[in-house]
């Protein structure tokens, strides 16, 4: 089915291929993981949801690891990467993209400062007990200020809370504005909706939570420690809630266009029944959204044993992580499939080894986990079993 009464697939002569390819698919995905993971740590630090204590620091470290690789796909995508800093030097403020450099750099500084304040006692302790180069590195890391007392920790805790509070709107800005970049392109019917920033934000939080859940489970399972089921149950409830909002907005966007039956639907209908039928209708909606919606509802609504909760939540988290990745693909690539001629579609082919190929995308998506492994080898990220058990005793038992 072709749009706009076309008899042949007519794309404008310059619409020969998809300009924004896999790199621009994984860029919002990784940024979303940053925002989502940060929000989880902020739940603990700012909103004082105690149940997230065991994952709050891990969330912060994970946000930092993802953050390190958030801008790299953009850099790889640029065809003049050596001029990337022009976005800092001459930011054209009428463009939504121009503030990216400042928002991203500022956010990374905030994350680093928050991590630094959190791990300062560790640096001080290490500097005390080591000698030579190692000691010098730790000394430099603590900026030579060795004070570590109850008073200094109180000051740091308050600062961390303040930074987390500032970080929430900032994380929302960092990611909501990615949605804005797409949502504000009036030339593209599949992108142009004011819901786009909200959809990106909600899916970011969902993907961040789901990814943390998977990481937590794998690490605890690998270390043969006991799971913090109170946290897992709480996480399931929050993930479910945010995903319900996310999925509602995603459906609303399409239903609205369909019911309105205007010029947007003219091209969106053939797009969804044509090239996006399997990626969007079947993949993103029917499999990766509807299934986790039910699976995740079970541990939240019904009384389920701890072990079952663990399986259900992780199964849903895996689907949700894929849902968001596929959603990014469907938005970024799907939108460009509509030729500006409105009378045809542009074909998309996966590349394997190219600059924007699957291999590079795979490396970029793996890299944050490698960095996480390195960091967690250097500093304590997750509590040891004793502490986890201790905490479980204090916490109220879940229904």
């Amino acid at each position: 089915m072709l749009p706009d009464g076309s008899l042949v697939n007519f794309a404008f002569p310059n619409d020969t291929h998809i300009v924004w390819s896999l790199m621009i698919v994984i860029y919002p995905y990784i940024t979303g993981l940053v925002a989502g993971a940060f929000v989880v740590s902020a739940f603990y630090h700012v909103f004082r949801i105690r149940e997230f204590a065991s994952i709050a620091h891990m969330a912060l470290v994970a946000a930092f690891c993802f953050g390190l690789f958030a801008a790299l796909p953009l850099l790889i995508h640029l065809s003049q990467p050596q001029r990337a800093f022009n976005i800092f030097f001459t930011p054209h403020l009428s463009s939504a993209m121009s503030i990216f450099g400042y928002v991203y750099a500022g956010y990374m500084v905030l994350l680093i400062v928050e991590l630094w304040l959190t791990y300062r006692p560790h640096f001080v302790e290490k500097a005390r007990t080591t000698t030579g180069i190692q000691c010098a590195i730790y000394r430099a890391l603590m900026l030579g200020a060795s004070c570590d007392t109850a008073a200094s920790r109180r000051i740091d805790a308050n600062l961390v809370r303040f930074l987390a509070a500032v970080g929430i709107p900032w994380a929302c800005l960092l990611h909501g504005y990615v949605g804005f970049i797409f949502g504000s392109v009036k030339a593209n019917a599949w992108w142009a909706t004011p819901l786009q920033p909200l959809i990106f934000l909600m899916s970011a939080i969902v993907s961040g939570m789901a990814m943390l859940m998977l990481m937590y489970t794998v690490i605890i399972w690998y270390r043969k420690q006991s799971f913090d089921y109170v946290m897992i149950r709480k996480m399931a409830a929050y993930m479910w809630g945010f995903f319900i909002i996310d999925f509602t907005l995603e459906m609303l966007e399409v239903l609205y266009a369909a019911y309105e039956n205007g010029h947007h639907w003219q091209v969106i209908k053939p797009l969804l029944s044509g090239p996006l039928f399997y990626p969007w209708v079947v993949g993103q909606v029917l499999i990766l959204s509807v299934v986790p919606l039910f699976v995740l509802g079970i541990p939240v609504i019904f009384r389920v044993r701890d072990r079952v909760v663990l399986y259900l939540v992780n199964f849903a988290a895996l689907l949700l992580v894929l849902q968001v990745l596929l959603m990014r693909f469907n938005v970024v690539v799907g939108g460009q499939m509509i030729s500006k001629s409105s009378r045809g579609f542009v074909e998309y082919h996966f590349e394997l080894l190219g600059k924007e190929g699957l291999l590079v995308a795979g490396i970029l998506l793996t890299a944050p986990f490698v960095v996480y492994a390195i960091i967690s080898a250097l500093v304590p990220v997750l509590a040891t079993p004793d502490k986890a058990a201790e905490r479980r005793e204090e916490s109220p038992v879940a229904p």
Partner: protein
């Protein structure tokens, strides 16, 4: 009160007893400290809360301020020289873009020298055409950058049919090649060039029935 951080991490707890006071007297150098640190243990002289428990925060703020200042200094330095702050572009770019050479000279550039053809051309049915449409671009020749001996013309039927073929969309008022008339009535062989009969500069004039 908000709980302090190490509750859930394996970080060292705060040292016991009263908070240590300033021990300014023993100011040790960076590497001295690291040498003595292990020997003297946890109570090493280098660890002080002097001048205040916020000193690390002050140092951080100072570091960030210096880094921020350095960044904006570099930024100011990196903005292109001719930057137009009102229009937000590099003004020199507009200038540079005019450096591109003209590949097509235009009819005016031909008529100055090649007067022998212009009479026939200007009076003919193709007088609205650009010379370079058929003869190819001669901007470099007209600007004296390149001497050219000849101006080759594609004399195939296809060259003429590009404009005079019958495709949907071509206005019926426009002279279109009537294939059946030429083939059946005039019996023009398929391989004959249009230019055998039609003078390209004034195509309504026939050079003769050469078949």
């Amino acid at each position: 009160m908000y709980r302090s951080l190490p509750r859930d991490l394996d970080l060292p707890g705060p040292p016991d007893g009263p908070e240590r006071l300033a021990t300014m007297t023993e100011q040790s150098s960076f590497f001295d400290f690291c040498k003595r640190g292990a020997e003297k243990g946890a109570q090493a002289a280098g660890f002080t809360c002097d001048p205040s428990p916020r000193s690390h925060v002050y140092r951080l703020v100072l570091l960030l301020a210096v880094a921020g200042w350095a960044f904006f200094w570099v930024k100011d330095w990196m903005v292109p020289e001719s930057w137009d702050a009102a229009g937000w572009y590099r003004a020199a770019a507009a200038e540079e873009l005019t450096d591109q050479h003209d590949t097509f000279g235009g009819n005016v550039s031909c008529s100055g020298c090649h007067r022998e053809w212009m009479g026939e051309f200007n009076g003919g049915g193709h007088s609205a055409l650009s010379c370079e449409s058929c003869h190819g671009p001669f901007g470099a020749h007209a600007n004296g950058l390149q001497r050219t001996a000849e101006a080759p013309v594609d004399s195939s039927r296809q060259a003429c049919l590009r404009c005079h073929g019958t495709t949907p969309g071509r206005n019926t008022g426009f002279p279109r090649f009537n294939e059946s008339f030429h083939r059946d009535s005039l019996r023009v062989p398929e391989d004959r060039s249009c230019m055998d009969c039609h003078a390209p500069h004034d195509p309504t004039y026939q050079t003769g029935w050469g078949f």
